[in-house]
């Protein structure tokens, strides 16, 4: 390599790194901001002469204490997990067979049906929550987390069915046919071959559904009024924001704790998510 080529290579390498770094800062800055605010004293926060990027006064755990002792944050976390697990379960029960049937067992009508299911995902919650709140009241589920368990699959199922359909379609038919010749029924081949191979897809659906549940705001805000039944995404912004006086430290702590751990879990699945598209074992 000549010196010029080497310089070019070096410059490209730097530019590449700069791009990655810039995006990382853009994406992660609000979370850095959450964590630094969490541990800052209020007096430090409101002094506009202080450099806001660093601790000008010793850090404090006061905001965390307020969050866990004076608010129902812990209960909200538990509520969210409760709804999340149930919704993920319902989503898998409904979407896995449906996705497989659409990918394999139906001809043209299946294609249209698949698009139809996907389009239901486009019906916005802002359109459905008015009639749904009447339905929820009719079923006696108002102010109960069960109302969310009932309604949340309405956005996780269409999305997951669509995603799983894609995953199942990517699996070579030969594998199922081989299993059917090897002594299994279509259903057996699905359970023994298709499911284990598409574990990456199924986990992706689990993670996607769970994050969608954590994100949901409008339904939870509308269906549930007792503070004890809030989920994190509603509890933090509605209960911790008192008029114009914001408990910024506790707010940021609440946001950070509910965001970052799941992001780390999620990161492990992104590899499988990306690799899951191509199963390299055939040929």
């Amino acid at each position: 390599m000549g010196p010029l080529a080497r310089l070019k290579y070096w410059a490209a390498d730097r530019a590449h790194f700069a791009i990655v770094l810039a995006f990382s800062i853009f994406s992660a800055f609000p979370f850095y901001w959450m964590i630094i605010t969490t541990f800052k004293r209020n007096s430090d926060l409101i002094n506009r002469d202080n450099n806001p990027f660093i601790f000008n006064e010793p850090p404090t755990l006061e905001h965390l204490r307020v969050l866990f002792h004076d608010t129902l944050y812990g209960i909200w976390l538990w509520n969210t997990a409760f709804v999340g697990v149930l919704v993920v379960g319902i989503t898998l029960i409904l979407a896995v067979p449906a996705g497989y049937a659409l990918a394999r067992l139906s001809g043209r009508w299946g294609e249209h049906l698949g698009i139809g299911i996907f389009l239901t995902y486009l019906v916005p919650p802002t359109l459905l929550f008015i009639p749904l709140s009447k339905v929820v009241v009719g079923l006696g589920l108002q102010d109960s987390l069960w109302s969310l368990v009932l309604v949340y699959p309405s956005f996780t199922v269409p999305f997951s069915t669509w995603l799983l359909m894609g995953f199942f379609k990517a699996i070579p038919r030969d594998l199922e046919e081989a299993a059917m010749i090897d002594g299994y029924s279509r259903l057996g081949a699905f359970a023994k071959i298709v499911m284990p191979i598409s574990i990456a897809g199924i986990l992706t659906v689990v993670i996607f559904s769970f994050t969608l549940v954590m994100q949901e705001f409008v339904y939870a805000l509308t269906f549930i009024s007792p503070v004890k039944q809030y989920t994190v995404s509603v509890g933090v912004p509605t209960f911790l924001v008192h008029g114009d006086v914001y408990f910024w430290g506790s707010l940021m702590a609440g946001c950070f704790i509910a965001s970052v751990p799941i992001a780390i879990v999620y990161n492990f699945f992104v590899d499988r998510f990306i690799a899951g598209f191509t199963v390299g074992a055939v040929k």
Binding site: M180, G183, Y184, V282, K283
Partner: protein, 347 residues
Amino acid sequence: MATVETRNIRKSFGSVQAVNGVDLSTKEGEFLVLLGSSGCGKTTLLRMIAGLEKPTSGEVLIAGEVVNEMPPRARKIAMVFQSYALYPHMTVFKNIAFPLKAQRMGTEAIRQKVEWAAGLFGIELLLHRKPRQLSGGERQRVALARAVVREPAVFLLDEPLSNLDAKLRASARDELQQFQRRIGTTTIYVTHDQVEAMGLGDRIAVMQHGKVRQIGTPMEVYDEPADTFVAAFLGSPPMNLMEGKDCLVGFRPEHFLPKEAFPMTGAAPVPFRVTRLEYLGADRLLYGVLERPFPEQKVIARLPSTVSIPIQPGERYEFVVQEKDLRFFDRDAGHRTEARPLVAQFA
């Protein structure tokens, strides 16, 4: 062991007739090859025998029993796919054990059977690996071991060698045949490769447009082609076909030799102008045209290296075909007709 039979079987996909009335019947322990170019319906036929496609009409019989309504798993068949279809999430051991698990066989019995099957193909040392860690040849052996392990009544093989490189293919062909002879299971083998078909098959069924054009031993289909399609499909280069007065006259390139090669024959000489020569080592291929009284038509001659007569492109030579090597076909329908004097056709 069992026989496979199809009775007037048909399959259409929409308006496309993939298989159009095939009657086929294997013998016990036979190695039957379905040969044809892609899209001729051979794979669809195999898949119907396997139960992976439902015939539009007609019947499939395995061991004398109509199996149309049986799912694949009930048919006592094993199949090797072109892609091998190894289960990517299982080790080689588990791949081979998979059909046995379906039969709810005991763990120890499974272990013994898997080791036996692996031993047949020399893959005992690969049992703990995953398919993606195997070479093409190894994958093919695993696929065969998985097919053999539960001792099926019939083997179905869908171009199992097409993903191997040429050198490996030759040795795999040899192993496959030896193995089939040893276990003696009825085998149906799909391929588009005529060398594979000729080398492996007890009989070959040549297919075109969803129909079987001819079925017979390699010798029969090569030497006595039933029609012009089979004549032109088999052999490389294919049979030369000349248009005569009331029939087509065919002869193989290797039977079209210089007059000097047959000093004793009384056959009429055929004037042949060579335009191009390919030297292939064992053979020489001569491309050229016939001259009067024959129609001016392109033909190919194949001279074995034992015929050392010097040939120059651009020159005219006297060639002959022995009477017994001539084949006659109907001009319109293409099927074989009775032999007749050559001279009368080109008077």
